[in-house]
């Protein structure tokens, strides 16, 4: 194609808060398309199930953004590159060196051991929400504090630093944060983490993620701090947004909410379908890669040097499952792309799964009548952040 379609600005142009940016689905309906991004870059958008898996797993597509400041996230632009410890922009062995040792902290069995503690944190927050009475804001009462406390425990950081993590995350993910503000927050958090690192060194502990990095890897201090900050931010912001979005998706699909209420023990399978559908419906193109050589994807040749982004709309591809455009909580779990794919697939996926399963099961078991206090379409959504979510979700339950 000779003329690049203009990419609808993500987040800011949705006709429904749980739907894709206006015009996006039409633009991608005929296979890979080159879109002009607001930053002036032309990038291919790949949105088929097979195509997205290919782009995210083929080593001919690089995550490296050196020499391309316009393709970096806001946080990466503010900090500049290279950043030691930013796995997201590394390829091959360089990436594996940092990624692999961290996988121990996110092992399935380790997270299963954490479930009772996650349940306890969830219960405490729902107790508190009930005690304060309705209407309550689900975001402030549960969505934000629970993942934040859980990731802090996984890392081995005391909960009193929680407010600082949230403020830093906001600066790191916000699109309008200034370099000075960001650096001030990052320095504050870095100082707290440096103290934690000293404690772990003294104790020799490998029971939590920071202890493990300090005492059982070859990571340099600057790598370790960057990884810890990145994990704190990623760990609470994303899960918190998605728990809110999942709840809203269920409110908007009462017949499907009934499926969850009928058998809350299926929360594990139900979370997979919510990940597939909710993230798929939001569409948009996120993760960017650069072709290192000419590669054919979905019948088009992507030239060496071209940028490629993948759309989560691939989760609604019929190649993945039948009636893929519908939310079907009775469906068996399918290999969706909600956590991405390839070597950069979300490191915290199993943690997010455990949290989302426990949160959903507990919320709707304990408050079977929980419902929005205002129409979902009237709720405010955060458009100032790179990750997308509801600002507040007012609910009642009696």
């Amino acid at each position: 194609m000779s003329e690049a379609a203009v990419c609808p600005v993500p987040h800011e142009n949705r006709t429904h808060p749980l739907g894709a940016p206006a015009g996006f689905e039409e633009a991608i309906s005929n296979g890979p398309v080159k879109m002009l991004w607001p930053n002036g870059v032309q990038a291919w958008v790949v949105s088929s199930y097979a195509g997205v898996r290919q782009v995210l797993s083929d080593s001919r597509f690089s995550a490296n953004k050196e020499g391309a400041p316009e393709m970096r996230t806001e946080g990466e632009q503010i900090l500049g590159l290279p950043q030691p410890g930013n796995m997201n922009v590394m390829d091959g062995d360089e990436h594996l060196r940092l990624r692999r040792p961290l996988s121990r902290a996110f092992m399935v069995k380790r997270l299963n051991e954490m479930r009772p503690r996650i349940q306890e944190i969830v219960d405490q927050h729902l107790d508190e929400m009930e005690r304060r009475g309705e209407p309550a804001d689900l975001v402030a009462s549960v969505c934000l504090p629970v993942p934040s406390l859980v990731i802090a425990e996984l890392l081995g950081v005391a909960p009193e630093h929680q407010a600082l993590f949230q403020a830093t995350a906001k600066e790191m993910l916000g699109k309008n944060g200034s370099k000075a503000e960001y650096e001030a927050k990052a320095a504050e958090l870095g100082a707290v983490l440096a103290k934690v690192v000293d404690e772990k060194k003294a104790s020799g502990s490998t029971d939590d993620l920071i202890g493990l990095m300090v005492n059982d890897t070859d990571f340099e201090m600057d790598e370790l701090l960057m990884l810890a900050i990145g994990l704190l931010v990623a760990g609470h912001e994303t899960t918190s947004n998605f728990f809110g979005l999942f709840t809203l998706t269920l409110f908007e699909n009462p017949d499907q909410l009934a499926v969850l209420k009928r058998d809350p023990s299926r929360a594990d399978v139900i979370v997979e379908e919510l990940l597939r559908y909710t993230i798929g419906k939001l569409g948009g193109a996120g993760i960017a890669r650069r072709a290192l050589e000419d590669v054919e994807v979905d019948g088009v040749t992507i030239r060496a040097g071209d940028w490629v982004t993948v759309s989560s709309h691939a989760n609604l591809d019929e190649q993945l499952c039948p009636h893929a455009g519908e939310l079907d909580l009775e469906r068996r779990a399918v290999p969706h792309l909600g956590f991405g794919f390839g070597p950069h697939q979300c490191l915290g996926a199993n943690l997010a799964r455990a949290e989302l399963q426990i949160l959903l099961r507990t919320l709707f078991t304990r408050f079977p009548n929980v419902r929005p206090a205002i129409p979902v379409a009237e709720m405010a959504f955060r458009e100032d952040m790179i990750t997308y979510g509801a600002t507040a979700i007012p609910v009642v339950w009696s």
């Binding site: 797993s57 594996l96 990624r99 692999r100 040792p101 961290l102 996988s103 121990r104 902290a105 996110f106 092992m107 399935v108 069995k109 290999p335 956590f339 991405g340 794919f341 390839g342 070597p343 697939q345 996926a349 199993n350």
Partner: protein, 64 residues
């Protein structure tokens, strides 16, 4: 029917453990995937195929 994990590319995502917990585990020392039953019985094969499909690093294989 032999199940293998190519450890050189494994990222320890644990997707194989979720797909077929009887066949796969993760190493306590490295977090990487381990095959517990290299020649699984027929009833475990659907889970193994699911693991092959789900593995983000595409390092799980089933040689039929």
């Amino acid at each position: 029917m032999t199940v293998r994990i190519d450890q050189t590319g494994c990222i320890g995502s644990g997707q194989c453990v979720l797909a077929a917990p009887d066949v796969f585990d993760q190493s306590d020392s490295s977090g990487l995937g381990l095959v517990l039953i290299a020649e699984p019985p027929a009833e475990l094969l659907p889970g193994v195929r699911d693991a092959v499909d789900r593995c983000p690093a595409q390092v799980v294989s089933l040689e039929e």
